[in-house]
């Protein structure tokens, strides 16, 4: 599936919920289900500093595709992080770099992407793209 297709899939999933509780419960559950990140990867250089919850991001390449691993100490953030991984991980760098990633708006969790939301999600998306770019350059050398 392309990134866009996955985004649409997520949008469709969220469209089923007609109240914020169910939406957030879904996010929280995704957070709980996220494959734990190895503790030794949770180093300060992998930290994306948001004001409140912390997010660790690790990026690697496998078969020319970027594989992300991430974690957060807040469960809602972790759920959003899981959504991001589901969307962006396992794609080729070019596609990641060009992805719009605006589905968070569409599914009604907009505030979490606002520049002031103290959870570092926006910084995370930025970092994912930067990593993809760096890996792309590495691959082409």
């Amino acid at each position: 599936m392309t990134i866009e297709e996955i985004e649409q899939e997520i949008i469709d999933e969220f469209a089923m919920f007609d109240n914020w509780e169910d939406k957030y419960q879904y996010v929280i559950d995704m957070g709980k289900d996220l494959k734990p990140m190895a503790e030794e990867l949770k180093t300060d250089d992998r930290l994306i500093k948001g004001c409140q919850s912390r997010v660790w991001l690790h990026s690697a390449v496998k078969d020319g595709r970027v594989i992300y691993t991430a974690d957060s100490d807040a469960i809602i953030t972790k759920g959003l992080v899981a959504l991001m991984i589901r969307t962006l991980s396992d794609h080729d760098p070019e596609e990641i770099i060009n992805a719009k990633v605006d589905f968070i708006d569409t599914i009604g969790l907009k505030s979490h992407l606002s520049p002031t939301r103290a959870n570092g999600l926006l910084s995370m998306v930025k970092q994912m793209k930067l990593d993809a770019m760096a890996l792309k350059i590495k691959l082409s050398n």
Binding site: W20, E21, Y24, Q25, I28, C51, Q52, S53, R54, D73, A74, I75, I76, T77, A118, N119
Partner: protein, 405 residues
């Protein structure tokens, strides 16, 4: 006695809905909402009186200067300072403390002198002293806390010595709401000839403060946490200290005469108020204090104590909740977490229910490190809050528990 409905009617913002729910505003420790008379005073200022003050001979300027100076007198009375000119208007608590750090240190401190702060201080009463340490070689001692988060008074007494020149301490802790034992703190400091600065940012909204009775040398707070405007702070300092300290900022209004060679300072408090001040903040400050005086600080304190007790009791009954700083002498603030969760999660869910609380480290990272947590959820109260709102809040916390655990 408080007629909370009558009070609520005075706060336009309380009619607002947030995420489809009536706003429950429990973030008063960050900033309080404003009564209509404060808003009106600003409208009236800009519609009738606006002009620059202190230097003009024309009518607007003269009328407004009197208005502005009346605000100073209102503050003087509010904290019972001896003179109106002991009240310096600043931008806020942070500005007030930075002023003292700069001007007091330049007048009185030399490398090797000691300043005592505590581990519970807000960054605004921590970083300015840390900077003095780093830039001027002043030593900074930190009073450790007990497990519950209270000041370790025995340790404090041991830190005091003839080298101690200043003790800078919060009246009420912003993260936990603990009321510090100022009488003892100040009398111990005086024994060693140290001056005392009290950070009253979280105290003035909840307690009656009398700077003369306290014997504080400096007392600072922000009007925006006291039903007043943003951008308006207070520095009370004893006359003799203000006289001895050099200006903090340099500019229009602080001088009697300037030549290229030298300058002569203006009288107090002008010496410390360089440039055009936040003029609209004058009438707004007066209006805010008028509101507080009309309700009565005693009534506010009693009513908020009721709210706090009720909220503590209810929260205490939720097994999954851990409350911090659980001691008797508290004001305005209750800090907690849902066990094994991050405060951000709780705050986010409550926000979806229209409940505004603060989450995070509350600018007290050393304290959070002491408690071994990344932060807390903080509910803080004002006189317009109600038991019904606390019920909504408690239900919200229960719902968050269900969703998160």
């Amino acid at each position: 006695m408080i007629d909370v409905n009558y009070i609520r009617q005075q706060f336009p913002i309380l009619n607002r809905k947030v995420n489809g729910n009536p706003l429950v505003y429990f973030d008063n420790g960050a900033t309080t909402q404003k009564p209509k008379r404060v808003i009106d005073s600003i409208v009236n200022y800009y519609s009738e009186l606006n002009s620059n003050i202190h230097r003009g001979v024309h009518t607007l300027s003269r009328e407004m200067t009197i208005e502005y100076e009346n605000a100073r007198i209102a503050v003087q009375k509010f904290i019972n300072a001896t003179y109106a000119h002991e009240i310096v208007f600043t931008k806020g608590t942070t500005d007030s403390i930075n002023l003292v750090a700069s001007s007091f240190s330049r007048a009185f401190l030399k490398p090797g002198d000691e300043i005592i702060v505590s581990e519970m201080e807000h960054h605004s009463n921590f970083l300015p002293w840390q900077n003095l340490r780093d830039e001027k070689g002043i030593s900074m001692k930190v009073i450790p806390l007990t497990k519950e988060g209270e000041l370790n008074m025995e340790a404090y007494k041991k830190l005091l010595s003839p080298k101690t020149k200043l003790v800078a301490i919060a009246h009420v802790s912003n993260s936990l709401g603990l009321v510090n034992p100022l009488e003892e703190i100040i009398s111990e400091a005086k024994k060693h000839g140290a001056k005392v600065l009290i950070d009253g940012a979280q105290a003035v909204p909840h307690l009656r403060v009398d700077v003369q009775k306290l014997g504080a040398d400096f007392y600072v707070f922000s009007m925006h946490k006291l039903y007043g405007p943003t951008g308006m702070g207070v520095l009370f300092a004893k006359e003799e200290l203000l006289e001895a300290m050099p200006p903090y900022q340099y500019g229009g209004g602080i001088i009697k005469s300037v030549t290229i060679e030298k300058t002569e300072w203006a009288d107090l408090p002008n010496k410390f108020e360089a440039g055009t001040p936040n003029i609209e903040g004058g009438p707004a400050t007066k209006a805010a204090l008028h509101f507080v005086n009309e309700v009565g600080m005693g009534n506010i304190a009693a009513y908020e104590h009721e709210l706090l007790t009720y909220c503590s009791d209810q929260l205490g009954m939720i097994e999954e909740v851990e409350v911090y700083g659980n001691i008797k002498n508290k004001a305005g603030v209750i800090s907690f977490n849902i066990k094994k969760t991050h405060p951000f999660d709780t705050g986010t869910l409550l926000d979806n229910m229209g409940i505004a609380v603060r989450t995070g480290h509350h600018c007290t990272q050393p304290l959070m490190r002491h408690l071994g947590i990344p932060g807390t959820v903080r509910a803080s109260f004002a006189v317009y809050n109600t038991k019904e709102e606390i019920d909504i809040f408690i239900n919200g916390v229960k719902k968050a528990v269900k969703m998160l655990l």
